[in-house]
């Protein structure tokens, strides 16, 4: 990791871990069809609308900041997306679910149904993307309620772990998670842990609103 030279405007582009995985598959799933923009690293409390030098200087503490190089982990990039909303929007859409922590027992199942606040409807018409950070910890991740080719494609993919902690994304108005039954992920006797930790990222496909929720999976089988 390092800083980018901000004396000139350049673009530092890399493939993500997910991109490399899809490229290696060679089945056309890598094809780039859409983009999003984000303001990761920006702290808007640095914006100073009271700057005595005038409005041209309100953002000077932000515009001069050096930026870090891109991270290959798709989980660490494009966290805070820029969204297109009508002018005069006073409150930003936010996504919420009932719990601030998802607890699952080994092989346990739960269905997550997010709601969007400050938006056209509580359930977004295009649905939500649900991304689990470590696919190894689940025996199934299924999106429900959206019948589009993209959503069906993602649901039809079997979980391929390849033994590494790659992410898995599905699309739906809700998402059903089933925790893994594999005990070896918890480690060996002695150094074994009783809980696996991962993260669920929910993004509203219409609003761009985003929520991250920790997931804890508790071991139920004897080590």
């Amino acid at each position: 990791m390092g800083y980018l030279n901000n004396q000139v405007v350049t673009v530092d582009a890399i493939l993500t871990t997910k991109g490399r995985e899809l490229l290696a598959r060679g089945d056309g799933s890598f094809n780039i069809t859409q983009f999003a923009l984000s303001d990761d690293e920006i702290d808007y409390t640095l914006y100073n609308p009271n700057n005595p030098s005038g409005s041209a200087y309100y953002g000077e503490a932000i515009q001069n900041m050096p930026l870090l190089e891109a991270f290959p982990s798709e989980q660490q990039m494009l966290k805070y997306k820029l969204v297109t909303l009508p002018r005069d929007t006073a409150v930003m859409p936010t996504v919420g679910i009932d719990n601030t922590l998802i607890k699952l027992a080994q092989t346990g199942t739960t269905t997550i149904t997010p709601q969007t606040f400050n938006y056209l409807s509580e359930t977004e018409p295009s649905g939500y993307s649900f991304t689990v950070s470590d696919v190894r910890q689940f025996s199934s991740v299924v999106g429900n309620g959206i019948d589009t080719p993209q959503a069906n494609d993602l649901n039809s993919e079997s979980l391929k772990t390849n033994g590494t902690d790659v992410s898995k994304t599905v699309i739906g108005t809700s998402c059903t998670l089933r925790a893994t039954g594999v005990s070896t992920l918890f480690g060996n006797v002695g150094s074994a842990t009783s809980t696996l930790y991962s993260l669920l990222t929910i993004v509203g496909l219409d609003s761009g609103a985003r929520l991250q929720v920790p997931i804890n999976i508790t071991r139920t089988t004897a080590s």
């Binding site: 980018l4 405007v9 350049t10 673009v11 530092d12 582009a13 890399i14 993500t16 991109g19 899809l22 490229l23 799933s29 890598f30 094809n31 780039i32 069809t33 859409q34 983009f35 999003a36 923009l37 984000s38 303001d39 690293e41 920006i42 808007y44 409390t45 914006y47 609308p49 953002g59 932000i62 515009q63 900041m65 930026l67 190089e69 798709e74 990039m77 494009l78 805070y80 997306k81 820029l82 969204v83 297109t84 909303l85 002018r87 005069d88 006073a90 930003m92 859409p93 936010t94 606040f117 400050n118 080719p149 494609d153 993602l154 993004v203 509203g204 496909l205 219409d206 609003s207 761009g208």
Partner: protein
């Protein structure tokens, strides 16, 4: 229109291939003037077949190229089995290159107008030449034993004749000269007087062959009197002899060492990302809102939001993030500004 994802217009995705030439040797140096071997490698079983050549005395860097002596009669090295005449590492080398370059075992190596039954192969490390070595850029300096007479070799690709194609792709003759310019002081073709050309320059397999008889001749005949040993069932250490002449050539006062360039075709995806004036003007960044109700952090952001773009995410049809581009500094975006970013992905 609302949302965070924008579908790319097919015209915003361009695939392009560009031709890139570069240096071959370690540290991006165009010329290699110091050659080193590894005593461990030379003493190992592979040392019977070839010597690896390094650019620094600690031989900790990457291998630059190798020297392999090849002999149709198996001379110059110990036989695998004294009871089986002629089968030795140098014979194995000869067969390997004959199979690779000529294909048919009935064919012989004809350098210029003379066939040769022994030669030196110098395969360049793949990481150095990438896709191919670039014809017309090479100057290789070999020295006579006294380091007073220097022989400069290049390829004849600039003469304009079509390359000869073999099982190993294009072949050009190695001739006297530098950087593709032929020296005709000894022979009108840049060859030796009696032994044909100095060998072959094969860009597609990143290898040059040095014609043994050509180097064996006197300086007046165009050679360097190399002294290649062709004794039966004897370790003549011929790669060492060429290695020594390379090192002397690396200390020459003009055009010292080995100058060589690589070439590769680089395929790139260009993605043109456009954010129009009325798009992407609000942020889901937690510091953009205040409190828990989602209200924007400053009142003037309601009518005139100011956001700062730092990253571009490229997604596939399933909205999986496959590539990211990071700007070197934040770019201000509001309802009066448009953005066009060109993202280049190399493969």
């Amino acid at each position: 229109m609302a949302g965070a994802f924008q579908i790319l217009d097919p015209r915003d995705l361009i695939i392009s291939t560009e031709n890139v030439s570069n240096t071959v040797w370690e540290n991006d140096s165009p010329t290699l003037t110091n050659y080193y071997t590894s005593s461990v490698q030379v003493a190992s079983s592979t040392g019977q077949f070839y010597y690896n050549i390094y650019a620094d005395s600690n031989v900790t860097g990457s291998i630059q190229f190798a020297i392999a002596y090849c002999d149709a009669d198996g001379s110059g090295s110990l036989e695998y089995n004294p009871n089986v005449d002629g089968l030795s590492p140098t014979r194995t080398n000869f067969g390997q290159y004959r199979s690779l370059i000529l294909g048919d075992e009935e064919n012989s190596f004809v350098f210029g107008n003379q066939s040769a039954s022994y030669f030196y192969a110098l395969p360049v490390e793949r990481s150095g030449y990438k896709q191919e070595i670039l014809p017309g850029t090479m100057t290789l300096c070999l020295s006579g034993s006294g380091n007073t007479e220097h022989l400069y070799l290049t390829d004849d690709s600039k003469l304009g004749g079509a390359a000869v194609f073999t099982e190993a792709g294009r072949i050009y003759n190695l001739v006297s000269g530098s950087a593709g310019n032929v020296y005709t002081g000894v022979d009108s073709n840049g060859w030796t007087v009696n032994s044909g050309s100095y060998g072959w320059f094969m860009p597609d397999i990143g290898t040059i062959l040095l014609n043994g008889p050509a180097l064996q001749g006197t300086f007046a005949d165009g050679g360097i009197n190399l002294g290649t040993g062709r004794n039966d069932n004897t370790a003549d250490n011929n790669p060492l002899k060429l290695f020594n002449r390379l090192n002397l050539g690396g200390a020459a006062s003009t055009n010292a060492g080995w100058t060589l360039n690589s070439q590769e075709n680089l395929s790139s995806d260009f993605v043109f990302v456009r954010a129009r004036a009325d798009e992407f003007n609000y942020s889901t960044n937690p510091s953009f809102i205040s409190g828990s109700n989602g209200a924007v952090v400053y009142d003037n952001f309601i009518n005139d939001p100011q956001v700062y773009i730092t990253s571009v995410g490229l997604y596939n049809n399933n909205q999986e993030l496959v590539a990211v581009a990071k700007l070197s500094r934040p770019l201000l975006k509001d309802f009066t500004k448009e953005l066009l970013v060109r993202v280049k992905l190399d493969f």
